[in-house]
Subunit: 323 residues, 2 copies
């Protein structure tokens, strides 16, 4: 196991891949090994900046990540890309599963790309994404991109994993602006307005101005950096310098005013709570005694011996050993 | 409270609306009242058939529900429509929030339409949707449509609430067919191929044939009804008779071979487990002692006195009172 640690710290790709498979595993022996490995790696932190990406479907999120990823890699940075993929049981599909789209940057030896399916049953958390970021950090990667597919819980998960949270948007109407404002300012450090090209260029430019003025209402905290707005064209590779400049600015300002460390501390608390929640739910699900009690209570409800809420109380009290 | 019960059983709309608001509430006193009310209503079951709808974006799900809903209402059935809406914190939007789309059927006095936001924090479960269906059933509604917005957990939630689970699809390629097959046969009783109109008609027809032959591989269980495939045009109101016929067939066959009751029993077990999970998570989150311990452990991790997994074990053991 410690040999694996050394190989990761040496940046060996096969070791990184093996370690990520390990942290994604739900086999009990793998979990034990995974905890050992992560506990060791966390003692050898690197300097990676974690950047999250989210945005509504159709705004060209993957195209932007490919374009900006290539830009980053061409500047000789090492880049890891992790996707949290809440693929539906029914209609699911992974963005990174579609390898062709990430083809350009995936060929580079300084990139490591991984798509992790989230486990819907545990509330949309991608098992192992946090740990995969720790592995890539220890392996000396400069940037770790964390991409979320879809909406809701996976966005919150991603926001709680990163130093910079990026929202990618398209040239859009005022209506979309209204929708997007609610809640977003809490998480997004930067808005990237994509599709600043061809027929859409003037609309993209107007959208960026609209976001700037809308966001100015929310940027009241004088200490914190205002939310950045950058106009890009992923297909024409325009605006990539500005994005990197904004990222550097966000990191520098947040480090200077202690927000950078503070955020990582808050995220640690978030993940510790998640770990506790998931372990408790796992225990609830796997305990034979609980499932037998559940079955018995269901039978009792059906024959009218108890009610739904009384039955749930019996099970909870038993599980919490308070009865 | 019991007056509210009587008014619901009499089918009074204002009482139904009030009761649904009550079951969606997270206020402690409302929860107590809600449990009382539901425990009473469940003793006066009606005859409602619960039908779930899901499908990828862009297939015309809302248009179909409006078209088929009108058809149902025009046949003098009472129709309730509940939407589970996992609206994103960032980009969310409710299908039924857009009232204009449901305008035709929402005006009818025999329909009751309600959109319930899901609470992402508890794993995408729409708090109160199960209870809202119990209310509408007790109020004498004939059909309760449960629509899921988006993918993943909310589809599983909906599938566990209904007697018939409908997947709406568009005229599509073989690729989509591949994607959709995985997992779906476990849940869907019927595939509705929409957009059998205009230029898309021949493609829709071909898609329906493709689904039929693809599904024939999965329909191996001789006792169970094969998955139905129906071709419709929502904008031309074509195929609505066939949909209702298929629904009747599904209900009749499943009642005859005992699958109808068996499914409701399994769903009861699912919801009882959900109730237990949610209550335990709520307790974990609201206990002052736990949150203080969490904070303390985070500080200890930061200064290197403990590790992430050791800290989580301490909190779990304390919560389960086993230490």
């Amino acid at each position: 196991m410690m040999k694996l640690r050394d190989r990761i710290i040496a940046g060996e790709r096969a070791a990184i891949a093996k370690a990520i498979t390990l942290v994604e595993s739900s086999r009990e022996e793998d979990i034990i090994q995974s905890h050992e490995l992560i506990s060791e790696l966390i003692k050898s932190p690197g300097h990676a900046i974690r950047v999250g990406f989210s945005g509504p479907p159709g705004v060209g999120k993957s195209t932007f990540i490919e374009s900006f990823g290539s830009y980053i890699v061409n500047k000789n940075f090492k880049l890891g890309v992790l996707a949290i993929d809440p693929s539906s049981n029914f209609t699911g599909g992974s963005i990174l599963g579609d390898k062709t789209r990430m083809s350009e940057i995936s060929k580079n030896e300084n990139t490591f790309i991984r798509s992790t399916p989230s486990r819907g049953s545990l509330g949309g958390i991608a098992v192992g994404t946090r740990e995969a970021a720790i592995i890539l950090d220890a392996a000396g990667y400069d940037y770790i991109f964390i991409e979320t597919v879809g909406v809701g819980q996976s966005e919150i998960t991603a926001a709680n994993l990163v130093d910079i949270f990026t929202l990618i948007v398209g040239p859009g109407s005022g209506d979309e602006l209204q929708g997007i404002k609610k809640g977003i300012t809490e998480y997004a450090d930067i808005f990237i307005v994509n599709k600043n090209d061809g027929d859409l260029a003037s609309q993209a430019s107007k959208t960026a101005s609209d976001y700037k003025s809308a966001l100015s209402f929310y940027n009241k905290d004088s200490d914190a950096l205002e939310t950045q707005v950058v106009l890009v064209s992923s297909i024409e590779n325009k605006g990539m310098d500005e994005v990197l400049d904004s990222y550097n600015k966000i990191v520098n300002v947040n480090k200077a005013n202690n927000q950078f460390d503070k955020r990582r501390e808050n995220q640690l608390a978030y993940w510790l709570e998640e770990e506790v929640r998931n372990k408790i739910l796992l225990k609830l699900r796997s305990e034979k005694e609980t499932s037998e009690l559940l079955e018995r209570e269901v039978r009792r409800i059906i024959v009218g011996e108890t009610g739904f809420y009384a039955a749930s109380k019996v099970i909870i009290d038993r599980f919490l050993s308070k009865k």
